[in-house]
Symmetry: C2
Subunit: 356 residues, 2 copies
Amino acid sequence: INPLRIAVIGGDGTGPEVVAEAVKVLKAVAQLEGIQLELREFDLGGERYLRTGEVLPEDVFQELKTFPAILLGAIGHPQVPPGILERGLLLELRFRFDQYINLRPVKLYPGVETPLAGKGPDDIDFVVVRENTEDLYAGIGGFLKKGTPDEVAIQTAIYTRKGCERCIRWAFEYTRKRNKKKRLTLVAKTNVLTYGHDLWWRTFQEVAREYPDIETDYNHVDACCMWMVKNPEHYDVIVTTNMFGDIITDLAAIIQGGMGVAAGANINPEPGGTSMFEPMGGSAPKYTGKGMINPIAAIAAAGMLLEHTGHERAAERVNKAIQIVTGTKMKSQAAGKMGYTTSQVGDLVVEALHQV
Amino acid sequence: INPLRIAVIGGDGTGPEVVAEAVKVLKAVAQLEGIQLELREFDLGGERYLRTGEVLPEDVFQELKTFPAILLGAIGHPQVPPGILERGLLLELRFRFDQYINLRPVKLYPGVETPLAGKGPDDIDFVVVRENTEDLYAGIGGFLKKGTPDEVAIQTAIYTRKGCERCIRWAFEYTRKRNKKKRLTLVAKTNVLTYGHDLWWRTFQEVAREYPDIETDYNHVDACCMWMVKNPEHYDVIVTTNMFGDIITDLAAIIQGGMGVAAGANINPEPGGTSMFEPMGGSAPKYTGKGMINPIAAIAAAGMLLEHTGHERAAERVNKAIQIVTGTKMKSQAAGKMGYTTSQVGDLVVEALHQV
Ligand SMILES: CC(C)[C@H](C(=O)O)[C@@H](O)C(=O)O
Ligand SMILES: CC(C)[C@H](C(=O)O)[C@@H](O)C(=O)O
């Protein structure tokens, strides 16, 4: 049997700390489930950039390409100007690996606190499918008369039929397989973005015809932010554009208990594709090296990695172990308030793996 | 003395119902405060469009131009395709009147329920200043190979130095006058929108130098959505772009108690400018004509109108009356659950005007 090959990028700030715990859990579950693991660490991120000027050297990219899965900690360094690492590394990986699905499960685990009054685990259980390769994220734009009082800056959102169709179709399939409310909500802003989101709207309607068993639903992005706070139980699966997906998944993360628990997958669903799994949180410079950051999100990302690579039973085991730890051990999901150090939380999850 | 001239556009759906209550309150407070009112109703919206094909005839626009203030109900009609009324009427008025400030006070009134656990009126008290004339709202874009599998759609965000500077400057002035936490937070996405939001970032930094008494702060839009739910008490004044402002003000509206109470002003601050005041809610077709919709937001919009036109004492009186009614009379701010009809709530506010 082939080993499960995983490229590990700790990245910046607290990234390496949380990834270390995810790796600890991966090794433990692999042993329990008889999965052969091959892990390889890659030194990428702000420190390397500051040291060498390199963000993503071509030979490193080619190496990464040989892996079906990347486990990523966090990208973002206080001494590096905004955009360089985000565009040059994180978005570069998403784009060049054509990871066109950004999958964000939003589930309130037992014992985890939500900021929403009167909402519990039964109310907060949906999934956001974010398109991950187009939109304003294309990075296309420019300046006219930069630095003068007459300056004009342009930033262009580009959408393709192929790009939105493959994402929408994937979301319909996912909604069917998920087999819960069987409702797929398109989130966009058709009344204002009358070009870009008209394409999304038309494509959504057309693909929907192939899925008569799925209820379709539409929310403007602004209304979606309201419902998500007011009636999160309405949602089953949401499909949305890259930019709006960025925004609503952070909102979703906070209602499921915050960055300490929220994980996401950047998926290239094609055979031979390289997918990437990450905690939603940033590099959190102020917590770096203090053992205060919550590794649960990174561990959950490792769980998604296992599921994606066909190790469903191991994934399930990781998820159950997480729920034991959040539900019966941790005091809070907030950094520094967990009642345990980062590494102790990792140990607790490993311990819980043996109980499930 | 000159009368206060107000153009009244009921618009679509529940718009006319809520505006009728706002007018009722305006008339009552004008009498109490000795303000001479001149109200003129304009028939614009989906019904007129369906009847005549007209959205905003030029002569109507020229008429409106003679008014310092417009009170608007709601725009949006289920039988009119998305974009026609929004772009042709609402955005057209905002743009052609150069109402470059969209001001959204976010305050949890006593007695009003927020969906956030453990947050009260002291925690939810901030203001969003949304740029209102640029960005993706420019409506610029197009299609290539429309309707084919190779279709590409483009939607372009345009920002100008003049446009962002005047908005940012206005926000600094407002933060100073507000004189609370004296903190102005820029909300943008500088790490991804490296052209358009670079202009915003540079302009914000430069204008900030003129306001050493104001603390400056920055949030990515995604992080802002989290903090707004988790720590709304952090915010004093937020300044942001048009598109992101649209999204975060709806989120803000729900945490202050929902569309029933949230009001906004579209301000042209220049002498002789025409400004426009509106409840944040849409046309709510399903509640139309049932006397179930909450008119408090429209009444609050009338309060903002009074304040903007120099009638501070009358504005204050309306605000206090609203708080009496929300705090001691209404059962809920949700449509159909108020414990009173739309018109009765208007009457209660009028009654309360006499007590303050
Ligand atoms: C870091 C940033 C570029 C990224 C994004 O905007 O996609 C992040 O916010 C995310 O959601 O993964
Ligand atoms: C109706 C729509 C065009 C409008 C907007 O997007 O600005 C509304 O959502 C608002 O916030 O006033």
